[in-house]
């Protein structure tokens, strides 16, 4: 899997919220097409880590490169990178004042400068892909949580990103709806897109991930293939965490 140039590269990245040292000396490189699951207790910095990749959070020290471009204060570079990076949020964050279709066409029309007709067409293809095409004319709040999250995935895919970031995509969902979202994510993973996913869905991690990363207190504690990670965790901290989340 590991090819010459990593698509994402963290080198000694540090970040603070005020006095709180949230990311500590992160070193991580992600290969093209790699699928990574990040887990860890709340407050361990896993969301912050992936939010640094599209600069929703700024790191203060170290070097972070995405698709060969270093993330700095250069707004144009950041906007260019954001076009390559799709993101799916825990709270969906669909635009409630726009229809499902308009949610999907907003960025292609305004960022991608694609004519409306073509943007509509592409959006419908994405909606078919997440199996929700019949809801195109509805408003997000008229949909169930699972449907909203699938729309959010389709929206992130509309700019054909190279990287997809998932920030606890199933944590706000009713148990009955988790599967429909995971199914879409598994299908996406099988198509070879680079994926970083913060989640506690360990079944998903086992079946899809190339690598599982465990974070605690702003550091990467352990990373390994799913088989090794779950079957033979190296550190005491990981074993403790796994025993808690796999117990139920």
């Amino acid at each position: 899997m590991q090819t010459a140039t990593p698509i994402i590269e963290f080198a000694h990245v540090n970040k603070w919220y005020g006095q709180f040292h949230v990311l500590r000396d992160i070193d991580l490189s992600v290969a093209r097409g790699e699928r990574i699951v990040i887990c860890g207790p709340s407050g361990s910095g896993k969301s912050t880590l992936i939010r640094c990749i599209n600069r929703l959070e700024e790191h203060q020290e170290g070097v972070l490169r995405v698709d060969g471009v270093e993330l700095t204060d250069d707004l144009k570079a950041i906007e260019a990178i954001r076009r390559q990076v799709g993101m799916v949020f825990q709270q969906f964050n669909l635009f409630p004042h726009l229809t499902v279709l308009e949610n999907l066409t907003l960025a292609p029309m305004w960022v991608g400068r694609i004519p409306k007709r073509e943007a509509d067409e592409r959006a419908m293809q994405q909606l078919v892909r997440v199996k929700i095409a019949e809801q195109a004319a509805k408003y997000p709040l008229q949909l169930s949580g699972g449907q909203q999250q699938r729309v959010a995935i389709a929206r992130a895919l509309c700019l054909t990103p190279k990287i997809m970031l998932f920030d606890e995509p199933t944590s706000a969902l009713d148990p009955e709806m988790i599967k429909e979202v995971l199914d879409v994510m598994i299908e996406l993973a099988n198509q070879g897109i680079t994926m970083l996913c913060v989640t506690h869905e360990m079944g998903f991690a086992r079946s899809v991930a190339d690598r599982v990363i465990f974070m605690d207190q702003g550091q990467i504690v352990e990373q390994n293939t799913p088989a090794e990670f779950f079957g033979n965790p190296k550190s005491e901290r990981t074993r403790d965490f796994l025993s808690k989340i796999l117990a139920h």
Partner: protein, 370 residues
């Protein structure tokens, strides 16, 4: 309820045991639901029975509608003298604008009101509406000023009445609104210079009464102008009203911006939208519809606040009424005159208020669940 192990059976829905619709149930529920409610209802009915008939007698039964001064005086205030309106309506509505030329403010104001009404209709919110506004404003000022197309020149000092009220409030709000949005955004800016400037502006303007702003615009401002340079007092007052309302509106808009979940901006940013694209397409459409009632509140306030321009010798609707009541023959009937002007204000404000409710419902299509 089913006992343990029993097979589930669906209970079909049935009608409620007591009728809940119709006039009688409504009366019972709303007016006579318990002792106190019943007492309250009876008290209100008694008050209406006491005060409505005399009011009706004064306002309609005994009233004189003709502009007949002798008949009005003969009433000895037992009835309303609506004749004062008939006699003075041109002065009240158009102030000191030359009598023979008053068709010009009439047409200008009618155009402006028609355009305001058209602008309320959402399908018309297109580019051409802005063009139409520019055209109508140009026509408005050509008609009011004259000095072209064979119209005699009329200086701003003679403008007055309803045209002045409509102009001050419409132009005030049309300019204040975009300014307020910029100031509200500026107060949340990451750039300390812009943020400080916006905070200073809002706090300074909100810290003084509108009367002071008008006084400064009218008397103090000219002192700072280079010699020989003058700006029309009406323009200065207009700018004063704009700046004043913008400060209040900015705080209203900021309230809407604060209420928007952070995730909305993050979602837009993660899609690569720039600051202005995010603001225009995601932030403002949501933030502004959240504060429609508060915005309309400020609009109505500004509309009525324009009556303060009388203190700098501009004769808006209320000022023109004072001019009209300067006539000693009719001064006694000031109450009727005031009621007439109040009715004009009420019609405008009520229309604004109803429109606010309507637009709120129409803008909320996406944020309701049904």
């Amino acid at each position: 309820m089913s006992a343990v192990g029993e097979v589930f059976q669906l209970i079909p829905p049935r009608a409620p045991p007591v009728a809940t619709e119709g006039v009688l149930p409504w009366l019972r529920r709303n007016l006579f639901s318990d002792l106190w409610n019943t007492l309250g209802t009876l008290l209100v009915l008694a008050l209406l029975a006491t005060y409505l008939p005399p009011l009706f007698e004064w306002a309609a039964w005994n009233a004189v509608a003709r502009p007949d001064n002798a008949a009005c005086r003969a009433l000895e205030h037992t009835g309303a003298c609506w004749g004062v309106v008939g006699e003075k309506y041109r002065l009240i509505l158009f102030g000191r604008y030359p009598y023979a030329e008053q068709w010009r403010p009439l047409v200008a104001t009618a155009l402006m009101i028609a355009l305001l009404a058209a602008s309320c209709y959402r399908p018309f919110w297109k580019r051409w509406l802005i063009a139409l506004w520019i055209v109508v404003l140009a026509v408005f000022f050509v008609l009011m000023f004259g000095g072209a197309f064979g119209l005699t020149f009329v200086e701003t000092a003679r403008w007055g009445g309803l045209p002045l009220t409509i102009m001050l409030s419409t132009l005030g709000l049309v300019t204040a609104f975009p300014l307020s949005v910029l100031v509200a955004l500026g107060r949340r800016s990451r750039m300390p210079g812009i943020r400080t400037l916006c905070v200073l502006y809002v706090e300074l303007i909100r810290g003084v009464p509108l009367i002071s702003v008008l006084f400064m615009a009218s008397f103090m401002f000219p002192l700072f102008m280079p010699a020989g340079m003058t700006i029309d007092v009406l323009l200065r007052v207009q700018v004063g009203i704009s700046l004043f309302s913008a400060a209040y509106l900015a705080e209203v808009v900021r309230g809407g911006l604060q209420a928007l979940p952070r995730g909305q901006v993050e979602a837009a940013q993660s899609l690569g939208l720039s600051y202005w694209q995010t603001t225009r397409k995601v932030v403002l459409p949501q933030a502004l519809r959240l504060v429609v009632p508060a915005i309309m509140n400020t609009f109505i306030g500004t509309f009525k606040d324009t009556s303060l321009v009388t203190i700098v010798s501009l004769y808006d609707l209320t000022g023109a009424l004072q001019l009209a009541l300067g006539d000693s023959d009719w001064r006694k009937f000031f109450l009727e005159g005031q009621l007439f002007v109040a009715a004009i204000y009420f019609v405008c404000c009520f229309a604004m208020s109803r429109y606010s409710r309507w637009i709120e419902r129409h803008l909320n299509t996406g944020t309701r669940r049904n």
